[in-house]
Symmetry: C2
């Protein structure tokens, strides 16, 4: 019997290259994993018009986790692959915890003056199954002066409370034990009110965790002026999308930004993928940094309960990055080799 069944969706552009390194590293630390590859993304779409065939989705559901590279190509209309694949998996597999740690690693440089490695260490817990991402909305009177387009944000107490509880549970296990709720309660008063009340209710269950609230605009500013202040951040789907890209930027770009779309109950498989995209401009050149993909594999191992293995992979990536000669050219497979060899 295999130690774990992992579906691999390498996807488009540099997705293939970085995912190969992530697999290499998983194999080095946890031999005996059973992989199944699925060719999804722009290629399949252009060949067949399909994005996620129902049979493939059923097969994916039979795995312990999904290792994803990158999905997207300029040749595909916006939304088709995002809605049809990435978001569909998040929604159908109830991946309500979208987990995005951000750390300023030794060997990396923040664009912020005077901020030193080790000083930024946060995790954003982004809601993954609700909000403006549900796709509710439409267009009326298209291409006439009377045209109107709507988008609706749906927020349930059920969905909001469970992700907030997950954030508090994570904060409880961290040193600083601090959770910041980010929303826009002064404008989005309906949803903001639900989030605030759910936050207060869950906070009462975790008396050891300190709390704070920030509006999304203020939080975005603090991410730049004082990112050190954040420990765990919990926020809605869209605000989390934006905040995690700022967090990635201040920790030196998306080169090290890993993410997991997690169903904590493990009723469905969770997806682990780098925050970066398919980067068509550098695809096929073997120069993409696989660090974020490998760190995503570490999140995957953690999710499967392989805590020691996850920690070893994370440390090996950190050591590899710290050992890089400044300005030296990077080869995707060499990074993977070095990390695997260190394990």
């Amino acid at each position: 019997m295999s130690v774990a069944r992992i579906a691999v969706v390498a996807g488009d552009g540099i997705g293939t290259e970085v995912t190969a390194q992530a697999r290499k590293v998983i194999d080095a630390v946890l031999p005996g994993v059973d992989y199944n590859e699925y060719d999804l993304g722009a290629r399949l779409y252009h060949r067949t018009g399909e994005v996620l065939p129902a049979s493939v989705q059923t097969e994916l559901a039979g795995h312990d986790a999904i290792l994803l590279g990158a999905i997207g190509d300029p040749s595909v209309p916006p939304g088709v692959l995002e809605r049809g694949l990435l978001l569909k998996l998040r929604f159908d597999f109830d991946q309500y915890v979208n987990l995005r740690p951000s750390k300023l690693w030794p060997g990396t440089t923040s664009p912020l003056a005077g901020v030193k490695p080790g000083e930024i260490d946060m995790v954003v817990v982004r809601e993954g199954t609700e909000g403006l991402y549900v796709g509710a909305g439409g267009v009326l009177h298209k291409d006439t002066p009377a045209e109107i387009a709507t988008e609706e944000s749906l927020n349930t107490r059920h969905g909001v409370e469970r992700v907030i509880r997950d954030a508090f549970a994570r904060a409880q296990r961290r040193d600083r034990r601090h959770v910041t709720l980010v929303h826009k309660t002064n404008v989005l008063t309906h949803a903001g009110n639900l989030w605030s009340r759910a936050f207060a209710a869950v906070a009462a269950e975790f008396p050891e965790v300190t709390t704070e609230y920030q509006h999304i605009d203020a939080a975005s500013m603090f991410m730049v002026s004082n990112p050190q202040r954040f420990d765990v951040v919990v926020t809605d789907n869209l605000f989390g999308d934006i905040l995690t890209d700022i967090a990635a930027a201040v920790t030196g770009g998306i080169g090290m930004a890993a993410s997991g779309s997690v169903n904590p109950e493990r009723k469905f498989p969770s997806t682990f993928e780098p925050v970066h995209g398919s980067a068509p401009d550098i695809a096929g050149k073997g120069i993409a940094d696989p660090a974020a993909a490998i760190l995503s594999a570490a999140l995957l191992l953690e999710h499967l309960g392989r805590h020691a293995e996850a920690a070893r992979v994370t440390e090996a990536v950190a050591a590899e990055v710290a050992s890089r000669a400044p300005g030296a050219a990077l080869r995707t497979d060499e990074v993977g080799d070095r990390v695997a060899a260190a394990l």
Copy 2:
């Protein structure tokens, strides 16, 4: 006859202090302005429960412009003053161009390493009367497990096209003549599609202006990693709220961030206010930086067609800021005096 009728809403916290300096500077450059003061904000709310009495709104409508300090106090529930006053003025006075220039001024320091004064110079044209700010939404089954809260983003072709056209017209008058549309077309496909089509249609009217599209998450990242690339940015109400705070952060904080909520047709008065809030922690101490309020007054003068006066005020503020001794304590009224004296 007075040269202009300006309604002054100094508001809460440091609002009073910084607005006094803005008036001082307007008087120095344009004598004969007729001011009417309106005591709106937390004080009025606590005294009478009113936020914007109908009679006051009617009076405000009779002015050429509104000079606003800051509105908001922790003692007032979130949304009450924002929705009832700030947003009500934006909506009722059809202030659809929310104008937010960001510049890294000589004498100020960006938190970004290696970015020098003069390198960042952009203006965000934020839509001001639509999107998620309309207040459409509600809560059902409050405080039960079945609770749901919604927020709806409404976008009309009329509203989107006019603000995009304003952004292109501004770009046309600038050196770089570049407009970046920011949205999230891959997820908010309905509204994103309307924005994209309207953008393409208006772009065709301005063949000399180059264009670009960025998702809000990528744009937020670029604001940190490469803010130099932006010239004019046009975006929706919520994305603009977030982006302008990041733009303020990378240009050294909200100390210099001015804004105008503009009705370009001048059918209704436009409001000019610093981006910063009422800052209750430093209110009454005379240490708030009035630069953003004075720069907002310059936007007001510009809007009234007083181009020479606006330019002189902006230059005087820039000179004052450049002359500040690093680390020296700042006195609100002294800054105002120095700027006024230079005119």
